[in-house]
């Protein structure tokens, strides 16, 4: 490669797990009714004032700590002034880098295809989201439900060199948001939005700012898939410009991602950048962040995905592959841990979840929270297989039936008469019956054709419709023949 790419990311993620919005008492929840979650402040009515949501600040500080950022002594909020219909106050309350936002200068280790990299975080700041807009040919609609929802903006240095690295980082961050119960981080719900900046430079030069190429910022990248596409597209576009000698005369610029054409489109260059006239919001006094509170938040940071993975491998003996599958989705990982808490064997629980349940979820496009089978039901099923009540093949059938028909395993086993006949008395009765009917085969056996046992065991299975334990049946069959 003659060139190397430098990629930086601004990732906006809504904090979805607070009761109310970041500066207003309106509910922070999904609402089918447009403009249903609205208080006077969200519409910018005259005389309304912002009140900082402590829980949003707590979650932001936790995120800042998890990213290894420096948390400031005092919290300030600033106004970013601009006119737009999605911003009824005429300014967005946010945090600029002066004075310090809720987190600065962090580092985060992340795994990209099995290799560890370090992402450099410039800052993370807490702000309010704007109203959502929908545009139709002759009109547009505004929904202020989103207006004022707490939003964390995470800004990285240009520390990624490929779309793979950027994507691995984004996935790591998303996992942290979910594991720390800060956000569902669901891009389908519009909770994650990214701006991506890309530049290229000669591969043999030292990676210092003087050697960086011209930064192109791409706005409105609203899914991880799009982020990958944008980065690949921009690298390709910029290399072509470089090859044709146009790259160095290209002005620093902002572009937007167009989903339809899968291209980036020029918006404005730096000269036309908007002056947001930032100043500290006088309605919010500076807030002292006490060491005690920060330590309390630090202590409440939950076990994150990579830490759970280590526990699964080291303590439960799972393979890297299985552990990775289980921690990918926090809800699955929680489900797995709950199953173990019910007393299930960790390895067996892992097998049942990853082979049967996850397969079913993928096929039906469901989430693990949607299924009827609870961790304690799964534990029952595992027990029935383990104690021989049903065979493992039957176990799979039972679990599928439970998932499809919303039943618990015990009921399914009873209703379908699937229960394996395990008691020696019952099996002996049928074995005797079969032997009585097959005296010729006893002769054959005694003459040395021991493979007739398979036929005889098959007869027992036929009579019991497969419910007899094949192992027990076999040994009992041989024992009984010998007796005759």
């Amino acid at each position: 490669m003659k060139y190397k790419a430098l990629i930086g990311i601004e990732m906006h993620c809504e904090i979805s797990k607070t009761n109310s919005k970041v500066f207003s008492s309106a509910s922070n929840s999904f609402n089918d009714c447009p403009n249903g979650n609205v208080r006077p402040l969200d519409m910018g009515f005259p005389g309304t004032l912002p009140v900082v949501n402590k829980e949003a600040v707590r979650k932001s500080i936790m995120m800042s700590l998890m990213l290894g950022c420096k948390v400031p002594e005092y919290l300030y909020f600033e106004r970013k002034n601009y006119y737009y219909p999605d911003l009824p106050k005429g300014y967005q309350i946010t945090q600029e880098t002066k004075p310090a936002p809720i987190g600065c200068f962090g580092k985060l280790r992340y795994d990209c295809n099995g290799e560890f990299h370090e992402a450099i975080i410039n800052n993370i700041h807490l702000e309010e989201d704007t109203a959502s807009q929908q545009h139709f040919p002759s009109f547009s609609t505004l929904d202020y439900n989103r207006c004022g929802v707490p939003l964390l903006e995470l800004v990285t240095e240009p520390c990624f060199h490929s779309s793979d690295e950027a994507l691995a980082f984004l996935e790591t961050i998303r996992s942290i948001y979910r594991y720390a119960d800060i956000s569902e981080a669901d891009s389908k719900k519009g909770q994650i939005r990214c701006d991506v900046n890309v530049s290229i430079m000669d591969a043999d030069l030292e990676e210092i700012p003087e050697n960086y190429g011209t930064k192109v910022e791409v706005k409105g990248v609203n899914s991880f898939g799009a982020a990958k596409a944008v980065i690949d597209y921009e690298i390709d576009r910029q290399i072509k410009l470089k090859e044709s000698g146009e790259y160095d005369s290209m002005p620093q610029q902002t572009r937007r991602w167009d989903e339809d054409t899968m291209t980036t489109i020029y918006m404005r260059d730096k000269v036309n950048a908007i002056d947001y006239k930032y100043f500290i919001d006088p309605n919010i006094p500076k807030i002292k962040l006490s060491d005690d509170w920060i330590n309390e938040i630090k202590d409440s940071i939950p076990v994150l995905a990579h830490e759970r993975k280590e526990i699964y491998m080291n303590n439960y003996g799972l393979s890297n592959y299985d552990a990775t599958i289980l921690v990918k989705d926090k809800n699955v990982s929680d489900y797995y841990e709950d199953t173990i808490k019910c007393g299930a064997d960790p390895k067996l629980a892992s097998n049942w979840i990853s082979s049967v349940i996850l397969g079913y979820l993928n096929k039906e496009l469901l989430s693990i929270d949607d299924i009827y089978v609870t961790p304690s039901m799964l534990k029952e099923l595992i027990d029935m297989v383990q104690d021989g009540t049903i065979s493992s093949k039957q176990g799979k059938e039972v679990l599928f039936k439970c998932l499809e028909e919303n039943k618990d395993p015990k009921t399914v086993v009873e209703e379908s008469g699937m229960k394996q006949i395990g008691s020696a008395d019952e099996i002996l009765k049928i074995v005797t019956e079969v032997l009585d009917e097959n005296s010729d085969n006893i002769e054959k056996y005694k003459a040395g054709r021991t493979n007739v046992v398979d036929y005889l065991v098959g007869q027992v299975m036929k009579k019991t419709r497969g419910q007899a334990n094949p192992g027990i049946t076999r040994s009992m069959m041989i024992e009984e023949i010998e007796k005759r």
């Binding site: 009515f45 005259p46 002034n81 006119y83 009824p88 005429g90 300014y91 006239k277 006088p282």
Partner: protein
């Protein structure tokens, strides 16, 4: 009956004893409102459907009062005296109004202000000029012009005001009444249409210091809707006033009060300053020590510019919500941008637009340090200087403005050089969030003039107490504008 001329305490005892009913007071107040409206244009709305209420233990219950039209009032037109909100009926009350409502106070009208409180003349409201009841060719000053006018004319014992630079305390002086701006944050700003949030303070205009204390006791209180409000539940202003001021110390600023600093002083200014020194003598006779202090003239000269820069910057941002899209009279336009532009261009008076331009200019990235940040630094220096005075003195006493009310016809107003610091020093009270009260201290050429007492933050009781004692040594307590002390 001269009910409207009485103090709150007198009215309360009349109500309790049954000499008068709340309905009588409300009706009388409405009648006086209409008469004053014809003569002075003090109101945006007169609430003819206002009703008396049953009287409770609170001194304010059953007594009518006025609300400046930049307070949000539920179900009642609230315009900020601006065309941009000429049809705006809020669906929530300002906290201060709610607090008074809970006590049983009865609002009877909404008073005119300079558009959104920006202006010191009482002439820029969308319903026209407010005239001074003492002399209708003169202004009330602003921005709480209608409130000052109505209280001076005996419509009721008090009206709510707001003060960003001197908007309560200057009109009080021009109208011969009391204007009290308590410590920043004592009264919630929730529901007050913002002008400059770091300076805006709710307060009251009354005809006596005790009345001012009673009303602010009723308005104040920490509010979960205003993060800058603080818990004053242990502060009882009215109960704490005892008039005992022996050994208190006041200072005045030489550079502002020395007539020799104004070579082209007018007759009015001479009389005003001379009257101020007479007032100082009265302070001394009460046992108060009064000393002259000197403040760097450069600092005093900076006050006006600091105020303009900070207040305009905050105002530009605060009023960005006025787009005519979700409330206010929506303008036509080909797109939302034109709609906003047309609405704002037509809606605001030229004075406000000028201030928006200044506010935007000083916040622009290339100007911010030179203007906005420097103004904030200078604000800090000025406040520090006053805080130093408060280490030694209970309060600063200064004359309000350069004399009595100015002529509405500006060509009749004399221009005096170096007068700006004297006209603008009340803004220092807003820079520091200091409690500050103006009381009438006499007449110049037949028109009332005022004196101001400003103390340290949270020292409201001390400030009120000095003002109360001084008021008692003069003859202007409960005074009504000439011609308005009639009986209904």
């Amino acid at each position: 009956m001269k009910n409207s001329l009485k103090s709150i305490e007198e009215l309360h005892s009349d109500l309790v004893s049954g000499n008068v009913s709340s309905s009588d007071l409300v009706n009388e107040s409405l009648e006086r409102s209409h008469k004053l409206q014809d003569e002075c244009n003090a109101f945006v709305t007169i609430m003819d459907d206002a009703k008396g209420v049953s009287v409770n233990d609170n001194l304010l219950s059953g007594i009518p009062y006025g609300i400046k039209d930049n307070y949000s009032t539920k179900g009642i037109l609230s315009t900020g005296s601006s065309n941009t909100l000429k049809d705006y009926v809020p669906f929530f009350n300002a906290t201060a109004v709610s607090n008074l409502e809970k006590l049983g106070a009865v609002p009877v009208n909404k008073t005119v202000l300079d558009e959104f409180g920006m202006g010191g003349t009482g002439t820029t409201g969308h319903t026209g000029v407010v005239r001074n009841p003492w002399d209708k060719t003169r202004m009330c000053a602003g921005s709480s012009a209608g409130s000052a006018c109505a209280v001076a004319a005996g419509v009721y014992p008090y009206a709510l005001g707001s003060d960003t630079g001197d908007s309560i305390r200057k009109p009080a002086a021009y109208c011969g009444i009391v204007g009290y701006k308590p410590t920043y944050g004592m009264i919630s700003r929730y529901g007050l249409f913002p002008f400059a949030s770091s300076l805006d303070t709710c307060g009251v205009l009354t005809r006596s210091v005790r009345d001012a204390a009673i009303v602010v006791d009723g308005m104040k209180g920490i509010d979960s809707n205003d993060m800058t409000s603080w818990d004053s539940s242990r502060v009882h202003l009215f109960d704490s006033i005892d008039g005992n001021v022996k050994g208190k110390k006041l200072c005045y600023v030489k550079e502002l009060c020395d007539i020799n600093n104004y070579p082209d002083a007018t007759d009015e200014l001479r009389k005003h300053l001379s009257n101020f020194f007479d007032t100082l003598d009265k302070c001394k006779s009460l046992g108060i020590e009064v000393e002259e202090v000197s403040i760097d003239q450069k600092l005093l000269n900076a006050v006006g510019s600091v105020y303009v820069v900070i207040s305009c910057a905050e105002a530009t941002s605060n009023m960005s919500n006025l787009t005519g899209i979700s409330f206010g009279p929506r303008s036509e336009g080909n797109n939302y941008h034109d709609m906003m532009k047309n609405y704002r261009t037509r809606g605001f008076c030229s004075l406000i637009k000028r201030r928006f331009v200044i506010g935007s200019y000083v916040l622009q990235a290339e100007n911010k340090d030179r203007y906005f940040f420097n103004a904030q630094r200078a604000r800090r220096l000025i406040v520090d200087e006053w805080k130093k005075l408060f280490e030694k003195y209970d309060a600063v006493i200064l004359p309000v403005g350069s004399g009595p009310a100015k002529h509405l016809d500006d060509s009749k107003n004399s221009k005096i050089s170096n007068i700006e610091p004297l006209e603008e020093h009340l803004q220092i009270g807003n820079f520091g969030g200091f409690p500050s009260i103006t009381i009438p201290n006499g007449f110049v050429n037949g028109l009332p003039v005022g004196v101001n007492i400003t103390g340290n933050c949270y020292d409201d009781v001390n400030v009120l107490n000095i003002a109360y004692a001084l008021e008692g040594s003069m003859d202007y307590k409960n005074q009504i504008a000439r011609g308005y002390d009639y009986e209904v």
